[in-house]
């Protein structure tokens, strides 16, 4: 965050909308506390340079880059196929959606057709990843609120069942490396499909129990309602995407907007919030999980037969014709996109990732001003960031 006094946000802040003038006698010095990078609740190596007046936050400067692995420059020196396993490590919780976004971008670049069964399989895997991610978030957010591990353990118990499915299909729980340009690496066996169907049918019951455990809880409502409220216009101008944007009431879901991957064939709804605060962000994700279950069940019902990989797709020596392409999908955290420029050689000329959690993180200070340290932790939790994706 560059010197914030020139940006318009600062002028709005220093007008003291909700921060008292610091010089009145009852307030002593400002306490400068650095939370992280080694801090139990910052979801990875992320530091917040917080200036406190008593308990309320007067200034918050996010500091990150500790997990920067030069992903994009590396992409320029490896082949298109070689970058695919690295996309698993971008958002290490949802490797299937990262792979799909990258494969989509390369397919648009090379004009590579994809068989129907592969698209259906990709939709099923992406919605399973969304279930996995939102369950994880619910667990982490409530862990930050102070429940000593119980909701987190329930969330991880369900997540493990989904990861077992991914392991049986792609060979690895989290580093799936499963999509190829022109389809999926292997086909889903009937036993796998039966197991996946049984899991999604049982998932609704888990969500009901989870909501009974937490959503009506007065303490949680007190801790999250009205905390870190985000206004729609600020969200749009800051480029926020995903559940965080929909929580403010803006109707923007790439699955409906772009209509990629046969999503228009499935009937599902997009939940919208009204206040854009932490409670809305949490509840939107829980409702989205219920919609994902519907999509997966419809996809299972109409899964066509046929090849899962386009026979003419070339694996090695893949040289797309010079040009550029930007492939994007609605990842669990927001719009994840890959911008590729090809100069005809096997390596991309420019390989750029548009990570949703990095963009959503830029508004952390605006959401936290005027709140206490305990709220800042929850607001960060509700933005749902993964440092692998933020630092790339």
């Amino acid at each position: 965050m560059i010197a914030s006094d020139i940006s318009p946000l600062a002028s709005r802040l220093s007008s003291g909308a909700h921060t008292r003038a610091v010089t009145d006698p009852f307030h002593g010095d400002l306490l400068e506390v650095s939370m992280g990078p080694h801090h139990p609740s910052t979801h990875g190596v992320f530091r917040m340079q917080v200036t406190l007046d008593g308990e309320t936050i007067v200034k918050l400067k996010p500091v990150f880059g500790y997990l920067h692995r030069n992903h994009e420059k590396l992409g320029e020196s490896t082949s298109y196929l070689g970058s695919m396993p690295y996309t698993d490590r971008l958002d290490y919780l949802n490797s299937m959606t990262n792979n799909w976004a990258y494969a989509l971008a390369v397919e648009q670049l090379a004009g590579q057709p994809v068989p129907e069964r592969a698209e259906y399989l990709r939709v099923i895997l992406a919605e399973l990843t969304r279930l996995l991610n939102h369950t994880c978030l619910a667990g982490f957010l409530l862990q930050d609120c102070g429940c000593s591990g119980t909701p987190l353990m329930y969330a991880f118990r369900e997540r493990e069942k989904i990861l077992d499915l991914f392991e049986a299909l792609s060979g690895s729980r989290m580093m799936c490396n499963f999509q190829r340009f022109g389809g999926c690496r292997t086909d889903a066996s009937p036993e796998w499909l039966a197991a996946a169907k049984q899991l999604t049918d049982g998932y609704g019951a888990f969500l009901d129990e989870y909501e009974r455990l937490i959503t009506g809880n007065e303490i949680l409502m007190a801790r999250t309602q009205g905390v870190g409220a985000l206004k729609p216009d600020l969200a749009i101008s800051a480029g926020i995407t995903g559940p965080m944007l929909r929580a403010t009431g803006v109707d923007y879901d790439l699955r409906k907007v772009d209509g990629y991957g046969f999503y228009p064939r499935f009937e599902f709804r997009v939940p919208l919030g009204d206040h854009g605060d932490t409670y809305d962000r949490y509840m939107i994700r829980v409702l989205e999980m219920r919609e994902s279950i519907k999509i997966i069940q419809q996809a299972f019902a109409t899964l066509p037969a046929g090849p899962v990989m386009d026979p003419k797709a070339k694996l090695r020596g893949f040289r797309p014709k010079p040009g550029e392409a930007y492939g994007r999908i609605e990842g669990p955290r927001g719009e994840i996109g890959f911008y590729l420029v090809s100069d005809g050689t096997p390596n991309p000329y420019r390989y750029r990732v548009r990570p949703p959690s990095f963009v959503n993180l830029t508004l952390l200070e605006d959401l936290c001003l005027g709140h206490t340290v305990a709220d800042a932790v929850i607001i960060l939790g509700s933005i749902d960031i993964v440092l692998g994706e933020v630092d790339r």
Binding site: L81, Y86, A168, G171, S172
Partner: protein, 200 residues
């Protein structure tokens, strides 16, 4: 009424407490080393070189040191040096073999791209994950001898995949054998050329 949310939460935790003693859906802990979870067949971790039989692993390696996997491996953790001489492979054709084939397991991320790009079905993914060693350097660099494992082992860890690979190889070898036989027959039927062509 104030507190009803808290009470319903307490009820759920009580149900889980009781459930964790008898309900299989909630009894999910596998107490590793005593109990081992069954690995799915598609599980992959660290590659290995396939040799035709266990008696002479170095002699019957399928790998012909074409170095495609070395080029395609994203983290570049494979190092191959071709052999000077040649030896006959399964179909009798003279082929090179790798004098040195090292994989640095501290760099390898088991992404299985080498298996996809290998045209000779010579390298496959193993299912070994507990390979802790005390030595940080040499022990993590697996040499050719440590990497080579017989085809029978391949059948034990990936049965369906191994069966397909063997079927495909069998058809290819049969086709190669017929072609060689046809070529030999054609050569025998054709008039005796002045001098037999040098060894192919």
């Amino acid at each position: 009424m104030l507190g009803s949310g808290l009470l319903s939460g307490l009820a759920v935790t009580a149900k889980n407490l009781v459930g964790s003693f008898h309900d299989p859906a909630r009894l999910t802990t596998v107490e590793y080393p005593e109990q081992q979870a069954k690995l799915p067949e598609a599980y992959r971790n660290f590659p290995f070189l396939v040799s035709e039989n266990a008696t002479d692993p170095m002699g019957t390696l399928r790998c012909v040191a074409c170095q495609i996997c070395e080029k395609e491996c994203p983290p570049q953790c494979i190092y191959i040096e071709k052999s000077k001489d040649k030896k006959p492979d399964a179909t009798g054709k003279l082929q090179l073999y790798p004098a040195i084939f090292d994989i640095d397991t501290s760099v390898c991320m088991s992404c299985q791209i080498c298996v996809e790009v290998c045209p000779f079905e010579a390298i496959k993914m193993d299912q070994v994950f507990a390979i802790a060693t005390t030595d940080r350097f040499d022990a993590l660099l697996l040499k050719r001898e440590q990497l080579a494992k017989p085809n029978a082992y391949y059948h034990t860890i990936h049965p369906t995949e191994a069966a397909e690979v063997d079927a495909r190889l069998a058809t290819e070898r049969k086709a190669a054998a017929e072609k060689a036989a046809a070529a030999a027959a054609a050569k025998a039927a054709a008039p005796k050329p002045p001098a037999p062509p040098p060894a192919a």
